[in-house]
Symmetry: C2
Subunit: 155 residues, 2 copies
């Protein structure tokens, strides 16, 4: 199967999801030329705002590998990943991403990922959801505990 | 309980997680002055790179409310949310966020959220993980199916 074939499969998943009332997004994760995981958007069906197709596929692929990283894997998504999914892609350390529809097409369909792309770059005080930094004397204690723990699994 | 008290609780969760070998991050979600959900980082323990404390707390809070949105809720996080968690916060439509440690403190402890903040703003071709846009004739079909489905639950 080619890159276009895997991407077409993600679109099939997205279209099937939309036809059944789910979010119109699908994703496929491929390792060594084989499909390791596929998912469609499950936000409303699972009451989970983080269950975008990409995140759901990453979770499933990690579960199947028994690992919290996906080095050597490629993600195919029916649509350009939003900033949440982009972050998940970096934390999962995927090798590459292919997508079909753009964030502008998503926005035209009512999914305003562009807003979040703009908000990420805003100073805290100018965001639509206010982010407040409170100085607490204990704020660095978790990192200190982490540095002391010789049994930790760094990631 | 005050905002500082809820934030101190998130730090307690983070420190306890770090002491037991988990990621040094904690989060608390509050609704109507009561703790609705709390979580610590579960990335390595659950083989899930998306299981940051904020995402885990959002998922738990949504599960408890039976809703995919958290309007009326406030998130307290031991550390400034990364772009993945920021995206999750927007999709969940939380009212506000309070955090203790900054992204710079996280970076000093080895958690380079700053990299992902920079990458979000990069053009596709200049990212460390390559993002490829492939034009497929079917790319808008999921959005078309979505527009036709009168039973969908918009979000």
């Amino acid at each position: 199967m080619t890159q276009s074939d895997f991407l077409a499969r993600s679109i099939e998943l997205a279209a099937a999801s939309a036809a059944s009332g789910g979010g119109p997004f699908g994703a496929v994760i491929v390792k060594d030329g084989q499909v390791l995981a596929e998912a469609s958007n499950q936000v409303t069906s699972s009451c989970d705002p983080t269950a975008h197709a990409e995140v759901a596929a990453i979770r499933l692929a990690c579960e199947r590998l028994g690992d919290h990283q996906l080095t050597g894997c490629t993600l195919y998504s029916s649509c350009e990943p939003c900033p949440m999914c982009l972050g998940a892609i970096y934390w999962a350390r995927l090798d590459a991403v292919y997508f079909a529809a753009t964030r502008e097409q998503a926005a035209a369909a009512g999914f305003d990922d562009s807003l979040i792309y703009r908000e990420v770059a805003q100073p805290l005080s100018q965001r639509q959801i206010p982010f407040h930094h409170l100085e607490l004397t204990e704020s660095n204690r978790p990192f200190h505990e982490w540095s002391l723990n010789v049994d930790k699994l760094a990631y």
